[in-house]
């Protein structure tokens, strides 16, 4: 199976509460580190699991290609994905300011038309814009089926995927025939969430995403990374959504500490009037 995994870098999500808003109402991420979008890391891990025998994670059965939109300095994020096992990388040269989910989806369609993967696998949302849209958009542009918010994936002979989607109140199971677009949710990296056609039933992975060994990080520097230009792929693409300003959320007024359960109940009744 050949899998295309679009990835994005985001300002350190664990320190997102340290964001500042500049005087011209823009988001100021100064001092925050760039990190791969966590959901995209899960997508890379999922792609690796789908293209291997879980008992031998060194050998790929198929190919994993990672793709990113962004400036030259974003290539370190692609190299990090190569170090964990992806085979090659594509950077689509673009300024962050020219991108929105729709431009990215159109660019991905152009890459898919060239690369002809069996599966486009990506995170369900990026944790900076929290939009949750690229998988659905690119599925429509390609005319492919979509399975969003996947918590489990089982590959059936590399021809079809059984996907358990996390939906409000439960799990919705779909079977998609490849080629398809799948977006992944948090629990896709649980030990038994993903099983390729090459992996024995019952195989359990370590929880979470795999880390690259030092040797692999060195080797990743030699893996192919090619550059494309957004303007060549989708000439004249323009954003369909424009942000004019940003603001910090209103702060919650400081609360109080109560000393006992009795005091808590009394406050909830008499003061907050919610009981």
């Amino acid at each position: 199976m050949k899998i295309l995994v679009p990835i994005k870098r985001v300002a350190d999500p664990d320190n997102a509460n340290k964001l500042k808003i500049s005087s011209d109402a823009k988001v100021d991420t100064t001092g925050l580190e760039w990190k791969p979008n966590p959901f995209d890391e899960y997508a890379v891990e999922t792609a690796l699991r789908l293209t291997e025998n879980g008992a031998n994670t060194k050998a790929r059965v198929g190919e994993v290609v990672v793709v990113m939109f962004g400036p030259k300095e974003a290539e370190s994020t692609l190299r990090a994905a190569l170090a964990t096992g992806a085979d090659r990388a594509i950077r689509i040269d673009a300024n962050d300011a020219d991108l929105d989910g729709d431009v990215v989806a159109q660019g991905l369609k152009a890459i898919v038309d060239k690369e002809k993967p069996d599966l486009v696998l990506l995170g369900k949302q990026t944790v900076d814009s929290d939009s949750n849209q690229v998988a659905q958009l690119v599925a429509e542009y390609l005319g492919w089926p979509q399975a969003t918010f996947a918590a489990t994936i089982r590959s059936e002979g590399d021809k079809a995927l059984h996907v358990g989607r996390e939906v409000d109140g439960g799990t919705l199971h779909l079977k998609v025939t490849l080629p398809a677009v799948v977006s992944v949710d948090l629990r896709i990296v649980a030990p038994k969430s993903v099983r390729s056609a090459h992996t024995a039933e019952g195989h359990a992975y370590p929880d979470g995403v795999r880390f690259a060994a030092l040797m692999a990080i060195m080797a990743a520097k030699k893996k192919p990374l090619v550059e494309e230009k957004l303007s060549d792929l989708v000439p004249g693409a323009t954003r369909k959504i424009e942000y004019t300003s940003f603001a910090l959320p209103p702060a919650r007024a400081a609360g109080i500490k109560v000393k006992s359960v009795q005091e808590l109940v009394q406050k909830l009744k008499a003061e907050a009037k919610v009981l």
Binding site: L137, R187, K240, L248
Partner: protein, 321 residues
């Protein structure tokens, strides 16, 4: 510009989901005439549930092949209606259904998509949206640049519309058939928890627990939730550890909730969790770590061992009932 809004209803087990009424509230705020589309098998019967909300029309697309939601079977009909009836704003509540369906519809009709918005401002026919980003640590103000716009709205920020009386005209609309892609996707099953409690999105009170509850998650929280008629929620850590079912997760990537009263029990308060609940009216935190970040957003904090404090709370509430 004359605008005209289409609200896409969500159906579940033959009924219109209450979450739909958040998108109706959005449509009322936009102020333009609006229609509600009830789409799914059994829609003809369910349509009566939404005739008293001030829609010009309730459009019904009832087809036996729409028994289970599959995006590729639903999206074409929405797109066809936007064209034939000249809607320019398409709104849906940002449930897992709305989040799956709305972008595909947007791509189909060449519309820009404003996802998961928490507010709308109408100024001379131009709409600007407010939406939370960075796990709720910033709010962006944005506008869609295309003539057609698709919007998904947060249930936690758009209160369910109240019936306004009257009776919208019900009109059957044709099923536009499936996308070609629908031949490559098959609905298999929907597992949903046998949950007798209110839905997290609709509950007045939510009792949420963290990893600290361990295997005692249900044993400790259920008596309190039962007593208060509350929904039960959980932190990601509690779900990942298997102490709580994944659909209970509250947070940036789980459910976003805004009840009148939210209990955070044994939850430290990671920013991803706070993103899902800090719109709650009153927040109570019970945690034995006095420095836990949850106390920075809690209206009432109790530093205590939850294994004794929660049963004590149940006893106290019963005594005062």
């Amino acid at each position: 510009m004359m605008s005209h809004t289409l609200v896409i209803a969500e159906m579940h087990e033959g009924k219109v989901r209450k979450s739909t009424l958040s998108a109706v509230t959005f449509a009322r705020q936009v102020g333009a005439p609006f229609a509600i589309l009830v789409i799914g098998a059994g829609a003809a019967k369910a349509a009566a549930e939404v005739v008293a909300f001030g829609a010009q029309k309730v459009l019904v697309c009832d087809d036996a092949s729409l028994g289970n939601y599959v995006c590729e079977r639903f999206a074409p009909t929405v797109a066809a209606l936007v064209k034939s009836l000249a809607f320019d704003i398409i709104a849906v509540t940002a449930s897992s259904y709305g989040k799956d369906l709305a972008p595909r519809v947007a791509a189909k009709i060449g519309a820009g998509y404003a996802p998961d918005v928490s507010g709308v401002v109408v100024d001379g026919g131009k709409l600007t949206y407010k939406r939370p980003m960075y796990a709720g640590n910033a709010f962006g103000t944005c506008a869609v640049t295309t003539p057609l716009q698709v919007v998904s709205v947060r249930q936690s920020d758009f209160a369910a519309a109240e019936a306004s009386g009257g009776a919208s005209e019900i009109e059957a609309v044709p099923y536009a058939g499936p996308d070609a892609a629908a031949a490559h996707v098959e609905f298999v099953s929907l597992e949903h928890g046998k949950n007798e409690r209110p839905d997290l999105g609709e509950a007045r009170v939510i009792v949420s627990g963290g990893r600290a509850l361990k295997e005692q998650f249900a044993a400790v929280l259920d008596p309190l939730a039962n007593l208060l008629g509350a929904a039960v929620g959980a932190s990601r850590a509690a779900c990942d550890a298997g102490y709580a079912s994944p659909e209970l997760q509250v947070g940036q990537t789980g459910r976003v909730v805004a009840p009148k009263l939210y209990f955070a029990i044994g939850i430290s308060g990671a920013i991803q969790h706070l993103a899902g609940m800090k719109g709650s009216k009153v927040i109570v935190a019970i945690n034995k770590d006095a420095d836990a970040p949850i106390f920075q957003v809690a209206d009432y904090g109790l530093v205590a061992d939850l294994f004794t404090a929660v049963p004590e709370l149940v006893t106290e509430l019963k005594a005062q009932a």
